[in-house]
Each structure stands twice: as C-alpha cells, then as structure tokens.
Symmetry: C2
C-alpha cells in the first residue's frame, strides 16, 4: 500500500543528529522555556536538515488530548451553512485546531454514522447543526461521551450550548415591514410542522398579524419543501387563492429564490405582483432579480461565536464550568426591491 511507504524522521532521529535526548527534542518542539536557547537552536537545525514532520496523532495519543474538532453540517446546498462552515473553520484553524468535516444532507442515518466516526477519531469537541428530525436525546448522549458540543442554528433545549437566531423576532420584523407597506393579506411559505425553527418563524409571523388584528387564512400558511422548488409551489398556490395574498414571508432565501423565479416565469415581478421577504441574507440575495429583501443574522458572526464558545469549553476546568450558553442573534431586515413595489417606495420617499 502506498500509505505504508511513508516513515520520515522521528524525534529519535533528531535527537541522535543533535546529540541530545528525545525528551529535549520534544520540549524544543513545544517551545518550552526550559531548554537553553543554544540547545534549542541546534535541535531546530537538525530537524530542518532532516526534513522532520511533527506527528500530531502520536502527540495526541500520548498527551491524551486532541486538536481536531468535528463539524457536522446538515445542508451544504444552502449557502448560509457554507458561510457558517467557512467562518468556523477559519476561527478553529487560527486557534490551532483542525476541522473534521461531515455533511449529513439531513439524513439521520448519515448523522449517526458520522458522529460515531468522529468519536473514534477522538475529536476534542463538536459543532453541529442537527439534521431535521434529530431526537431531543442526542445532545445529552453526545455530552455523555465527554465531548463538548455546540449546537448551531437549531436549538434542542437549554442544557446544551446553542448559537442561533431569534427567529420569532426576525419573522415579526419581516411581517411588520410588509404590514408597513400596506399589505393585509400576507402568506407564510415553508411551514414545516413539528420543526422547532419553523415553529418559531411561523410564530413571529402569526403574532405580528394578530398584533395588527389581521386575520390569517389557514391556507396562507403554506407547507412546502425548504428549497427553490418549494418556493415555486408556494407561488402557484398563492395565485390560486382568491382573494389572494399580496405578500409572502419565506422560510429562507432558498425558498424566496424559487418564489422570485416562478413569478418571473409567470411574467410578473416580485415587489409589484407580490412582495417577497426571505431569511438568511445569503450572498446571492444581493444579486437576484429583483434583489431580495431578507433577514440578516450574520453567518460569519454566528460561526465565530460558535467556535469561540467551543474553544472556551475546551479550556475550562471542571471547577470553573460555566452554565450552557444560549446565544440568539437579533436579526436585521435588509430591505431590497423584492418587497417594495414602485408605488410603495414612492410612499416611503414621501414619508
């Protein structure tokens, strides 16, 4: 096997070349202040000359620690999670950790397999965006393994570190914006019954409608897949209703993109024929036609906070253990053309 061919110099070889013990070499590699500068330099020189490569696996085994962190992501076809992943990988790399990545594609089976694999790889910690349908017991099980866990985007109770978004607030904000544009019949596209995040988003929408005493027809809450195809189906449903909603709040930007596209296909324009709001502010939202109004929570910031939360857990001792972090970012609404009809924007300008 190709992989059996590799076996470069070890600290033993460096020790021999530099005329010291391997303990000394090890300490030099760890930049220990115990070693005399002169000796250290001699060792480093020998390491360089031999083309030495540190074996982190051996170090981890002996040192009973680990410098890899597992990252389990549910949906990489959604650019929001990619942004999150990139931010997390960046912060962890800066802190000297390596990221073991796994993609579950929302499959519980894959998620189970992947978690077992990460445990066998002895990850120091886990950051996870759980697949839809993950049972509430999972976080406790992972914690029972002795592996710190940070949940991102999808909360699963108060006992586990969680970094997410105040979805209820966000969707209230989005709905409020549409009401402010004069809309009274507003639909919600991408309802998924039983999923915590969908419940929060629907809740934000419903509470705002109620606040303004606006009735909500049952069929305005449209249960479609959380994809562009779902958005397409939602538009078709909306244009079959009479009287039909004049605005729609979408579960996320993926759904909203499908809505914009189906409207275009029908020869209509978002903002005029139907006001559209998305959620996530993925990079593409700025370049859709028309540009998409959407909720911004900062994937980069969320990823950074998630990483830092995990890093803090990794360096805490059992005495100073902090209570679970429950951080929910407050989203902002980025208003673009998709939610503002020509007339409405005129009204705005006058105000």
């Amino acid at each position: 096997m190709h992989s059996n061919m590799k076996s470069g110099p070890t600290i033993q070889d460096i020790a021999a070349a530099a005329g010291v013990s391997k303990s000394t070499v090890s300490l030099v590699l760890q930049e220990s202040p115990l070693i005399k500068a002169e000796t250290a330099e001699k060792v480093r020189e020998a390491a360089r000359a031999l083309g030495y490569v540190y074996n982190r696996g051996a170090a981890n085994l002996r040192g009973k620690r680990s410098t890899t962190i597992g990252m389990v992501i549910n949906d990489l076809t959604n650019p929001f999670f990619v942004e999150l992943l990139v931010a997390i990988e960046r912060v962890l790399a800066q802190a000297g950790y390596t990221t073991l990545m796994a993609h579950t594609a929302e499959s519980l089976e894959t998620q189970t397999r992947v978690l077992r694999s990460m445990r066998e790889q002895n990850v120091a910690g886990l950051i996870m965006s759980p697949a839809l349908g993950t049972t509430d017991e999972l976080p406790a099980e992972i914690q029972s393994w002795g592996i710190p866990l940070v949940l991102v985007m999808r909360p699963m109770g108060p006992d586990v570190d969680t970094i997410g978004v105040d979805n209820s607030y966000g969707f209230a904000l989005a709905t409020e914006h549409l009401v402010g544009q004069g809309h009274t019949r507003i639909a919600f596209a991408g309802n998924r019954k039983g999923y915590a995040v969908a419940n929060q988003r629907r809740q934000g929408y419903l509470s705002t409608m109620a606040k303004h005493s606006l009735p909500v027809n049952d069929d305005w809450i449209i249960d479609v897949p959380l994809t562009p195809e779902g958005g397409r189906d939602a538009v078709r449903a909306i244009f079959d209703m009479k009287p039909r909603p004049t605005a729609v709040v979408c579960y996320n930007d993926q759904v909203a993109i499908g809505v914009l596209h189906e409207l275009d296909r029908m020869g209509k324009r978002a903002g005029k024929a139907l006001a559209v709001v998305g959620c996530d502010n993925i990079i593409a939202a700025e370049h859709t036609n028309p540009p998409l109004t959407t909720l911004f929570a900062g994937a980069d910031k969320l990823g950074t906070i998630a990483s830092e939360t995990l890093l803090a857990r990794l360096s805490e001792t059992s005495e100073d253990e902090k209570p679970p972090v429950q951080y929910f970012a407050v989203p902002e609404l980025v208003v673009r053309e998709s939610s503002v009809g020509a007339k409405a924007s005129h009204v705005n300008a006058a105000a």
Copy 2:
C-alpha cells in the same frame, strides 16, 4: 482541561472482561477469521457492555497507515466547489475514510499553512483544488512527502493525477451556440491573465471566433474578478462600447449572475439586450431571472472520479503503479433563456 477527562475503556479492559488477551480483542475488532466465533461473540459482548469506542488514532499510529484524507478547497463561496466537496466527502466516507477539510479562500499563505497541518495530521492522501497563483512546483513537493495527490479543476502538468474539465472545448461550444444565434460581436468576461483555466477558456472562445472569421476587439476580452461584482463591471464596460457586443461568454456562473443582475438593474433583460452564457451549471443557474444558459460538467461526477482515483492510488502497490490519470470531462451546454432572445427562439422553433 475538558479534553483530559475522557478516557474510556481500552482493548485491555475488554480483554480483562472477556478473559482473553488484548491481541485477541484486536483481531476480533478487525473481524479476523482467525478467531473462533464463540470467542469473538464473547469479546463483542464485553465491548458492548463496557461502551467501548475504537481509537482510530492509536490504530493508525501503530499500523503505520491512516484513514483520513485531506481536502483543500480554494473557494467555497462558489457553489460549484461545494457540490464537488459534498460528492468527494460522500464517496470517501463510504470507503471508510474521514475527510479533513480546509478552505484556502484563494490565499497562498493559508494554503501553505493548511498543507503543513494536513501533513502533520498524517493524511493518507490529498485532494486539492489549488489556490490561484499556486506555483508549478507544489504538486511535486507534495508527492515528495509520500502523499498521493489528486488535483481537481485546476491542472498543473502531466505528472500528477488530475480531474478536470475540457475548458477549451466547453467554451468553444458556448461560443458556437452564440454564433448560431446570429451573434457576431461576442465578449468574454472574466479573463484572468496567466491562470491556466482562464487561458483554456479564453482559447476556446478565441478559436471559435477565428473559425467563423469573426474579428475580436481587444476590449471584448474583459478582465474582471471572477465574482458577481466582476460580472457587473463587465456589463458596464460592454455598454460603453460602440458598436457593442450583443453576447457575452462568462468565465463562470458567479460572473454570469452578476451580468444578469446588472442588466436587470439597467432595466434590460438577458437574452434580449445581451445574450449571456455561464459555466458550471450551479444549482442556482436554474432559478436565476432569466434562467442561465451554462456549461455543465457534473460536479458530482467529477468529485466521484477524483475520490475514486485517490482511493485507487491508496490501494496500489509500488509494482503495479499506474501512470498519472488525466481526466477531463467533456461539458455540455444547457440552453436556457439567458442566451436566447425572443426573436432567436422563434427562429429556433421554425428550424
């Protein structure tokens, strides 16, 4: 430290519980046929009872092999590379390998750091889409480490396994399509001088123009960043030209999306005001307004082939070593509205 707390049962503990030696336990875990079924069952039972977790790192250290593979990606903000990553991760996981992921964001410095880290992690192999500006010496250097390397999308010579796309053919196809629509003044957006892939793509475009005896103005070859912003700049440049090009071939879908968006902002429509072709057929290309004509090479297939190429290297002995794989997928053109004006499509229908 939190990470010091973990130390579950080892094969030693299982051996004690099952009343056998740890050699036997090890063999059972490897499903060796040498061990009597009865003994094996007793061992497995003990492992289960103790909640044993296999320590892959220790096994790799002792066995002088490795079950992790490094994946170095240049640009995860481009959904094409995400598709590639997902496919690769899936195939490797099926084969029992774990994927160590790193994102360079086209930074040579990050790439260097990341490769060193992967080497220290003792990866069995590397799949890499090199950052722009990577020097030609890098593949040979990595190979000198004894780590099999498969390059994806960005070729760097014949001596290293490479999975990519026949860009020259693809861009000839795209240009041919536009000529077939009656265009004679065709621009190329996203030229990046000195980059191999850009050279190939430009070459495909130029050769097709030449084949049809169509002159190419220097300023039609527009050097812009390979992003939506680059696409925006290209449109502005095109509409400043007189006579202006009536069609544009874009370096990739990211650039094309910027072109579609800037046209929309100007109140024009791609396909009518300017025919637009992209490259990559990212999932979003189907849902742009208007839908984007683009080159399809199959990120999923390319990722699968790249993984399989690497797996083949890992299981080959030094005697049966195969010559470098140089696989270049032949792209197809997916024709959508962005390149077909109302009139032109009428012509098509008549044909």
